[in-house]
């Protein structure tokens, strides 16, 4: 479990969490970037940039 840095809601985390993943908080909808996995550290995800894509 981790705590949403925006709303304080609880986030369920899965075992193979990867640094660099984005999680959506089910409570407030915030996008959170996984900065570290052991221990889990979250931050607000960067905003969409114009050159993002495939």
């Amino acid at each position: 479990m981790a705590e949403c840095i925006e709303c304080g809601g609880s986030l369920s985390l899965y075992d193979d969490l990867e640094k660099g993943e984005i999680l959506d908080c089910g409570t407030c909808g915030a996008e959170l970037e996984v900065l570290a996995v052991d221990p889990v550290e979250l931050d607000t995800a960067p905003e969409l940039q114009q050159d993002w894509g495939e």
Partner: protein
């Protein structure tokens, strides 16, 4: 082959990267995840994170980072997938269109202009509807189907005021009246891994925009077209997008409207029985083997996918055989890969990243 060390260049781990990471680890390879936001690139000295890797795999979400980091990798003599040339051509729709046209690959008629006034002339020349696209961008963002002169004037005025100079490179394209769907093919140096159709009532049929998907089996014409399109942009791991433009009742004509160099394949992987990431990893093994062979023979200090394809016919044949073999093998293993259930269960406990677009 023995385990290789793969440097995965990223700034965001999407579902596609998780699939790739799993496939690499399942086959016994070591993965160094390299967040490009943390790195500094000298002109001759690579970042320490690059030192031990056998190959770099560019999965950068930002096109600007992708085009530069592949250049640096090649400058350092480190094999990189895709090549800098491929990244540069695919990152820019103008360059992609020119490359396809030069190679004789069917692609929608396109005109480029640098002012709203000349762009309006181009729009009027096409007639209505026609399409305005940003030269850099993805996921169907900022595409405009222009249906009247007054709409064209408004869109062009808005684009001119968006701020970034790229929005003042006006890319005007014919509107292709496709049959409510387009086709996404993932290919490895021109060899098709798998394909799907993306259907939608909306004229934009990206899976990221909510299109429904179904497996697509290309005929010989599609295989040949994809191979030529791949060659045109320098080869590598590519997403080639096609539209059906007509049929005479027996055969269908296609046009290639986009090629993606950091292709997203999660939707494709969920649609087809082929283990797409597994095939990619097997192909990467062949890429590293070819690079090591080149290095040992002293024929090339830097790796270049296109040069290998053109100049080392025997190696290319072996590579293609491996890639095809990978596809066959992975058909059997896909169930196992997904049977582990980790990614499926993740979706149930956490919403994957979808809010900012993404998806193939």
């Amino acid at each position: 082959m023995n385990g290789m060390t793969v440097g995965l260049l990223y700034s965001r781990i999407r579902h596609d990267e998780k699939l790739l990471l799993s496939a690499l680890r399942e086959r016994g390879h070591t993965v160094e995840k390299i967040d490009v936001r943390d790195q500094c690139f000298g002109l001759s000295e690579p970042p320490s994170a690059f030192e031990e890797v056998d190959v770099l795999v560019d999965r950068c979400l930002a096109t600007s980072r992708s085009t530069y980091v592949t250049r640096f990798a090649e400058a350092y003599g480190i094999p990189v997938v895709n090549s800098a040339e491929t990244a540069q051509v695919c990152a820019d729709k103008v360059q992609t269109s020119l490359a396809l046209e030069r190679a004789g690959v069917p692609t929608p008629e396109t005109t480029v202009a640098f002012t709203p006034e000349s762009a309006l002339e181009a729009v009027e020349a096409f007639g209505y509807p026609c399409v305005l696209k940003p030269v850099v961008g993805s996921w169907g963002r900022l595409l405009a189907k222009v249906e009247s002169r007054s709409a064209a004037e408004a869109i062009l005025e808005h684009k001119a005021t968006l701020g970034h100079y790229e929005h003042s490179v006006f890319y005007v394209q014919e509107f292709v009246d496709k049959p409510g769907r387009d086709i996404r093919i993932v290919a490895l140096d021109g060899e098709i891994v798998a394909g799907m159709v993306r259907s939608s009532d909306h004229w934009v049929t990206n899976a990221a925009a909510g299109a429904e998907t179904a497996a697509f089996e290309g005929d010989d014409q599609v295989h040949e077209l994809v191979a030529r399109a791949s060659d045109a942009v320098g080869g590598g791991l590519l997403g080639v997008d096609l539209m059906e433009v007509g049929t005479d009742g027996e055969s269908t004509e296609y046009t290639v409207h986009e090629i993606n160099h950091t292709v997203e394949f999660k939707a494709l992987n969920e649609t087809v029985p082929v283990d797409v990431p597994g095939a990619v990893v097997k192909w990467l093994e062949s890429v590293v083997a070819a690079a090591e062979s080149d290095s040992n023979s002293g024929e090339a200090e830097t790796f270049d996918t296109e040069t290998d394809a053109l100049d080392t016919g025997t190696e290319t044949f072996e590579t293609e055989t491996d890639a095809l073999g990978a596809e066959t093998e992975t058909l059997d293993t896909k169930t196992d890969a997904f049977g582990t259930g980790s990614t499926t269960s993740e979706a149930e406990t956490l919403t994957p990243d979808t809010a900012e677009g993404g998806g193939d």
